[in-house]
Symmetry: C2
Subunit: 190 residues, 2 copies
């Protein structure tokens, strides 16, 4: 196993455990066992448990932000921009199974350093500016953008949890239905 693989292995194991059990209920030996390394090995790659969780947090928040920003259809309709964001959320979740839930679960945690908080704020700003633009055009419902983000984000995460738990079959039809539901929750019905 290469060094890069081993580092990623530790990160992937830690991500899944942090997402499932939470930071505080996950022990370093647990991560080590799951990653098939000795407990001490983790400290060759990460200064300590908090550095590990912050590294993970920043990594995935940035990747998620980039996924939304990538080829964002600035010229097109608000509805199409919403579709792009929704697609990005699905794509990111498919490519990083536990990442969104991990982010959600720890985005207000006491151990986040200032860099992690900054990265998360940037993600929120991106969503906020989308909703603000949509409201200016009277296409998005007249609610605080914070609230609109909460609705979209809260509902989406809860749904992905059901999919992860196997209680919901992730077929395209379902996703279209959910996209429409969430669009109807944020759009203006004048």
């Amino acid at each position: 196993m290469t060094i890069q693989n081993k580092r990623e292995n530790i990160m992937t194991s830690a991500l899944a455990l942090f997402a499932e059990r939470g930071f505080d209920a996950t022990t370093v030996p647990m991560i080590a066992t799951s990653a098939n390394v000795g407990a001490g090995t983790i400290y060759r790659y990460f200064e300590n448990k908090e550095v590990l969780v912050n590294t993970l947090f920043q990594d995935y928040v940035r990747t998620f932000t980039k996924t939304i920003e990538d080829q964002f259809p600035f010229q097109q309709s608000v509805r199409q921009q919403f579709h792009h964001i929704f697609k990005a959320m699905i794509l990111f979740t498919n490519q990083n199974e536990h990442a969104l839930y991990f982010i959600k679960k720890h985005s207000a945690a006491h151990f986040l350093d200032s860099q992690s908080q900054e990265d998360f704020t940037q993600l929120l700003n991106l969503l906020r500016s989308f909703f603000d633009t949509g409201k200016e055009q009277s296409i998005i419902r007249n609610l605080p953008s914070e609230a609109l983000i909460a609705i979209l984000y809260g509902a989406f995460i809860e749904l992905q949890n059901l999919v992860r738990a196997g209680e919901l079959q992730p077929d395209p039809e379902l996703f279209t239905g959910i996209e429409n539901s969430l669009w109807d929750s944020v759009r203006s019905h004048s």
Copy 2:
């Protein structure tokens, strides 16, 4: 302070701490300090930390379920039933500040005993039967009831977090707007 008050005091303090920090990051001495009692006193009222958290969980899940069931307008329209549920969520949150978030945060936790899980399932069943009825009448969107619950529940909790954090002003106008948004997310737009 009466015995009943002391017990409630411990429960209220534990609730707030569990909601804010999570079960694993909350220590028993923390709860004791917050409740102005000695650490040992907690063990006069609760066998151990897990019994305490399960007692809290069952208490609040049952109260929440009762709040929804109380005066439920079975005879009236699905929209009015939805309004009742939404009002119940607001009422319950006003009367039990941290309770809904506590429930949310721990409803899939590893330390929940079978009684807690059963109580939570009953709450879900109540919501599920509301959505099922609404779908039969083609008033509710044709999505799995699990998904509809996730949307309503996920969005609502996320919004209450913003209110608790002071990032959203809880005025009646906002709540009406949110109720409409969530109704539009679950209703059928034929």
